[in-house]
Structures are given as C-alpha cells and as structure tokens.
Amino acid sequence: MTRRRVAVTGVGVVAPGGIGARAFWDLLSNGRTATRGITLFDPAGFRSRIAAEVDFDPAAHGFDEDGAARADRYIQFALVAAREAVADAGLELGGDDAWRTGVSLGTAVGGTTRLEHDYTAVSQEGSWWDVDHRLASPYLHRAFTPATLASAVAEQTGARGPVQTVSTGCTSGLDAIGYAVHSIQEGRMDVCIAGASDSPVSPITVACFDAIKATSANNDDPAHASRPFDANRDGFVLGEGGAVLVLEELEHARARGATVYCEIGGYATFGNAHHMTGLTAEGLEMARAIETALGQAQVNAGDIDYVNAHGSGTKQNDRHETAAVKRVLRDHAYKTPMTSIKSMVGHSLGAIGAIELAACVLAMTHHVVPPTANYETPDPECDLDYVPRTAREHTLRSVLSVGSGFGGFQSAVVMTRPKEVRA
C-alpha cells in the first residue's frame, strides 16, 4: 500500500504588516519590515522595547464585544486565518466528512497576555499573593486553557475529528502542522485545519526575554533591528500573528476539484537534550530532523531549492542552523538560497513556524524567494546565500523549513510541488 499523500489546499495568514495571504506576500516579496517600537503597552523601563505588531481591529473582523472577550487576541488571529484558509480551499464540511476533519494548532504561550492583564487586576498590580477573584474577567478560564485555541477553530469550521493544541515552544507551528501531516498519512483524518498563533507582546513575555538577553535591544532603529545571519545581529525581535493551512489527503482534494498548492511529504522533530535555551555549535539534532524529513518526502538533499530558516537573529541560533543545513546539504547548501522572514515579521514564538510554512507555500506558488531583510555584514560563521534585502525569482520544487525552540526542540518540514501539480 502506498502512503497517503498530503496536499495544501488553503492558506490564511494574520501577520505583522499584513492581514491576509495577499498582503502578507506583498510585504515579504518587497522585503519590507514590520518591526517597530512597541505600541501594545508602554515599554518604558524594558531592555527591548521593539516588536512586530499586527494592526488588528477585532470589530473589522466580525468580533463584537462579547466575541472579542471570549477569544483572546491570539485566538482571534487563528479564527481569522482559519476563515481565510477554509474559504481559500473552498472547503465545506458536513456529515461524515466532519468526523474525518481534525484541527491541529500550535501556540507557545497561549493566553498569557490575557492572563497577565487579569493578573494585574486581581493582585492590585502585583501587591498581593492572595489574589482577589472578584476582580477577574468572566472568560478568564478560556485564557487559562490553551486547548481553547483548537477548540475555537474547530467550532468555527465544524470539525469533529481529532482536535488538538500543540505547545512545543517556538517549533509549535511546525509541529502542529507536522502532526497533522502524519495523522492524514496514517489515515486518522482526511482533512486538517492546521497552523499556529501567538500574541506574546505583553510585559511579562518581553521581560522574560529581557532577563536572558535573547531579544534585540536596538531600540533606536526598530525597522532594522531584526538582522538574521548578519554579523551585527543582537537577538530576535518579538512578533505576533497566526497562520493556518488546510491540509488534505491528495485524492480527497482531487476528488472535490480543489486547487493543490503543494504537498507536505516530510516532517520530523528531535530533542537536543542539551539545554532549555542553549544550542550546540554543530546542530546535529536539527540535521537529523532535516535528514528524516527529507527521507519521508523522498527528496534528495541536493534537490532542495530553498531553505526557509528559523533565522531568529540570535548569535547562537543562526550559527547553529547554518551548521545543521550544511551538514545535510553539503556543497549544495552554498548554492541554495536560505532566508529568514523573521527579518520582516519578527519572531512570533509558536506562531512563526506556521507563518513560515505559509510563506513557503506562497513562495512556491510565485517561484520567488523572500529575502532576508537588513542583511548587510557577513558573519564568517554564517556563510550561506541569505538573499540580502531583495526577493529573488527562483524555480521552487522542493522547499525545506526548519525551526528550533526553547526546550531543545528541533523540527523540519519538507514541501514539494511536483510537476503535475498546477496552481
């Protein structure tokens, strides 16, 4: 029996600088950056005071006051992205199809923004350990439970199959989509609404990255602060957003005449068993994930046309993944464009993996590699082709996307666009 194949038939994105796949692609393909001084709260007194924020008006997306109260910002992002993806796929669920449709969504920090907001109320801004429950908002429990994310999207789409929220730090998006791919391959579902969302731009999250100097303190030049692979990079720029893909068993998609963007044939994740935040210089575990994902997709390392990097812009990350990619792609690595869209949309923690896969789908559709914005000064330890500042036309048949997360997670996804597939 041949393994079931998994097609991408719908894309939805809520990203800084662009809501909707079209606006998102416009930002990426023009190399614009959406990083700026934080406006979502007053960042005075913080080390890093910059972020890539989404200009998001809940009312414009159909959330009335109660709807906005029930769904945290990160869930609103997911609902909007899912609506776009499902419409894009032309998917209509009903009858037995609903039992065969799942939801798999990732988030790294879930409802922490709402949790922090309500915390300040019940604790009188940090005055009491013995918090006063009478000051909490009515839907606080929905923020406390990350399962609300997948549940809300399943409610919106009518999915009744396996519904899960995945939280593996900054690889959550890749892993949520990867689990969906494996579930469809195994026949546990035919369709999956898969992606990720996070809205971490709040004081506690900014402070926790301040404490470990993981974020850029280039507060004077926010538009150029996210500098993956550049010798002068000084950390990542926090972002927010969400992206959702409709994944579908290939024959199921063909039977209903759906447009197939591409296939996802391989996914793997491994732990580095090294350190919660530290990465090795060698990148062995990420290399293993890449090799495994390539093997599943039956793609040779030498056939990879584009590497969508994690490229967070921390010193250690960019060196780590450059080493990992070179370990697997060998000489071919030097001929393969490898870019980080975090240079433009920041690092939205659990969401970014899904946003990056959405970018890969769009890149394959347009045969254009989005650039690494802000890249100017080469770093001897990062010596690959990072496509500085300007997008590049390039035929894309096989694409690799990788990610690393706190906790040691190392994940890789391989997408392919076989010749017979027409968008």
Partner: protein, 84 residues
C-alpha cells in the same frame, strides 16, 4: 562607592541557581569553571541581574560571559570600584 562582591556573596547567589558550593572552595580555586560547578548561562544571567538590582547599577555587558568565579569577581569589582 558600592560594596565589593565577595566569594561568600557569590556562593549565596549561586545557591539561587540551585548550585550549592562552599565559598572557601570558590576562593581556593577561583579559576575553575562555572560549568564545572554546574552553573549554566541562564544561572549566570540571573546572578548578574540580581547583583545589578542589589547594587542599583549596571554591570559591564560581558559580565554574563565570564567563565570562572575569579574572572567574574575581578570584572564586577573593578567595575564597581571605578564606578564604570
């Protein structure tokens, strides 16, 4: 002028990172590595942050990259004494 950092205080700070070490041992082997005591990069970042809060001033940006107690004490104390 701020109070100098001593091996006693450093040992107490290392305890907050879950590392129990005798200050006399720290003093007798100032060049042994933080790594060998089990203190990782996050632990040292926490120690630097706590010291900055206690002394009410910033320490040099490379303080969290020191490899040994001796190197750390020298750097912190020269910074505290010069008021840099």
């Amino acid at each position: 002028m701020s109070e100098r950092l001593t091996m006693e205080e450093l040992a107490a700070l290392m305890k907050t990172a879950g590392i129990t070490v005798d200050p006399t041992e720290l003093a007798s082997r100032p060049d042994s590595q933080f790594d060998d005591y089990g203190l990782d990069s996050l632990g040292l970042l926490g120690i630097v942050g706590e010291l900055e809060n206690r002394r009410g001033r910033a320490l040099p940006s490379n303080a969290d990259r020191c490899k040994s107690p001796g190197e750390f004490l020298d750097l912190v104390n020269s910074s505290l004494m010069t008021g840099a």
